[in-house]
Symmetry: D2
Subunit: 213 residues, 4 copies
């Protein structure tokens, strides 16, 4: 079985994107799963193309995209990507789309088809703070989750995919002040658990992880 895990390049003035830092530390083999990695540009226009190329090259069964969610205290496995782009800041191409769909004729949303609750449960068992999130925002992270599931929907290969939002790393929080953070090693460990859990099972566990609001 093969997995592709992607991070993003830095954006918004940061010199480093912890998603790529964490992805670069992954083992090449997680259990019996061979792991390929790629770095996506933080670009509405280019990220999905780079992702598709990486998929066609790696031929993965599982795809996990990873991006930064500054301010969140936990590893957030996303449930859904929505068909909208609404950028509060410009992306790395200096583009700032407002209320433009990811795919003009696409469905309103795609759900991740990884066993997200089983993954969250396994991360917690391993001592990692993790949660199911119901919004990936409206920036490039949501864009790529939507685009990934859209690729999967139409691709000849059968694949499963999802998106992990990660906290700041301590170095960033030290500069910013007042924000929660997580050690890169713990983030990498979380990613490995998601890959291993997703490889081990196709159905999810039946447990409440929803939010009232």
């Amino acid at each position: 079985m093969k997995a592709l895990v992607t991070g993003f390049d830095p954006f918004g003035g940061d010199k480093v994107n912890p998603s790529s830092l964490a992805v670069s530390r992954l083992s090449k083999k997680i259990g019996k799963v061979a792991v390929a990695t790629a770095v996506l540009p933080t670009s509405y226009a280019r990220s999905a193309g780079v992702l598709r190329e990486a998929i066609d090259k790696a031929k993965p069964d599982i795809v996990l995209c990873v991006g930064q969610a500054g301010g969140r205290p936990e590893l957030c496995l996303e449930r859904v990507g929505i068909n909208v782009q609404d950028a509060r800041i410009p992306d790395n191409d200096r583009k700032q789309p407002i209320d433009v769909p990811v795919r003009a004729d696409g469905p309103a949303a795609y759900f991740s088809n990884l066993p997200i609750k089983a993954c969250v449960a396994e991360m917690r068992k391993a001592g990692l703070p993790a949660v199911v999130s119901n919004t990936a925002g409206t920036f490039v992270c949501n864009h790529i989750l939507y685009a990934l599931m859209d690729i999967i929907e139409t691709h000849p290969r059968r694949m499963r995919g999802g998106f992990l939002h990660i906290p700041y790393v301590p170095e960033q929080a030290a500069r910013l002040g007042g924000a929660p953070s997580m050690a890169v090693d713990d983030i990498a460990r979380g990613i490995e658990i998601i890959v291993a859990t997703s490889a081990a099972r196709t159905t999810d566990i039946h447990t409440a992880e929803g939010r009232i609001s």
Copy 2:
């Protein structure tokens, strides 16, 4: 022009639901818009039926459902309802669905078709903290937003609809401790601005209100 505004009955042990409190204070006429109101049960099984009956009775052009989002500091106008029910606590029928769709063969999500950004801009101009939200959670609030837009999609009447999540009222925060709150009069004022703005325009303004994550 006619508007229907709904609140919910109390849930989760609370004696009062501020959404109904606020709705009960609305003027019967907001500008030239006649306002009808209804209270929906906090029930996955029954809320959409009561909403449909209220729609058929009031024959509104605009429907705004209002619900409580305890812990949020602002008036949150929701962008999207997703096709999932994942209840952390039982609803008022003691039902707690997990990962069950709102409508088995429905689309993954529906977007609100109110001019949500124009509404948020007008609320802010009036001195009310307001924001576009990208998740209505997975409890009955999200359920009713999805169900509302599904009704609108298939209904012979042309309608527009949306959902407003509101903070605790001060009386609740006084009991709970540490939570933000908003005066009922300010919540009611926010609702009236949404109704008036939605009546005045069908297209939205072009301004970034997205979130990075």
Copy 3:
């Protein structure tokens, strides 16, 4: 019995200070207590002098100073003022003292001698979110609490005094985004309850309001 309640003038770029807004709405008579008010400059060098003049003019039995604590969701009745000035931003005289004591030979701290827990309990009974706070920061608010208690310590009149930190008002939160707020009328109501409760009793109630950290 007489009370003096003070607010501050605006600082940090704001056009209005909600502490003065709330103070200006107070009744002149709260129960049998005659209420005088004053506005203090947000100035390390001048605020205590203006406060002392207001005290000498009003001859109060109770003094409550009120200031803004942007970001806090509740009415925060302060327990203690510490003998330090450490300014993250300049005051209204463009002074920014760092680690300078309020009074060079003064004690390390002064405790408020209002019945702060009884006041908090009464505010909650009236449906207002309120809490005992253990830090008034290190800006002019802490300065004036320390200076007030220092004046009381050495003044020939027997007085009791304290400090209330209040949230943003909704108009501020609407501009800032993401911050909790409280209606000015609710803030004014909280102040009146503190004055009335402090007038009615000199000893405090025996109830835990501490914090673990």
Copy 4:
């Protein structure tokens, strides 16, 4: 030069106290500073006695007590301990003092005499989120900071002392949900930086680290 660093035993139902976990990982030698460690009971009645014994045994020049501040996202070096005990939960002796002073005839507060701002600056340079805090709460952590500085005030040895509040470790946050955390290794690294910085200098740097409120 010698340093004594203390942690606390678990309290409030937790099985482990990360302060002791972190302290147990410290090097025995930080630069030229010999490091002794001790575990204090989470007890108002007993903690100061155990601390004094550890001081008399270790004969340190620098004393740093470490305790948990669940919910805080950063390493918080405390500025001041206040002369009050106000327990929201019982300590490990099932005692819950309310508004009782640490020392009946003691001063209202003691300031730490470590170079707290230099320590915070060095931790940040090392990529660790850190901040000066102005309240240690009113539970046993504040108690021991006050008691430590009181011991130092009256002890024949010249010592300097302070208190570090630390976040949850990831294992705790994984159980609790929604809380920020920090890896134990990063916490231990922060402690070593505080010890090294305090050994290297007796005066603090002149930089604003105060809070407005």
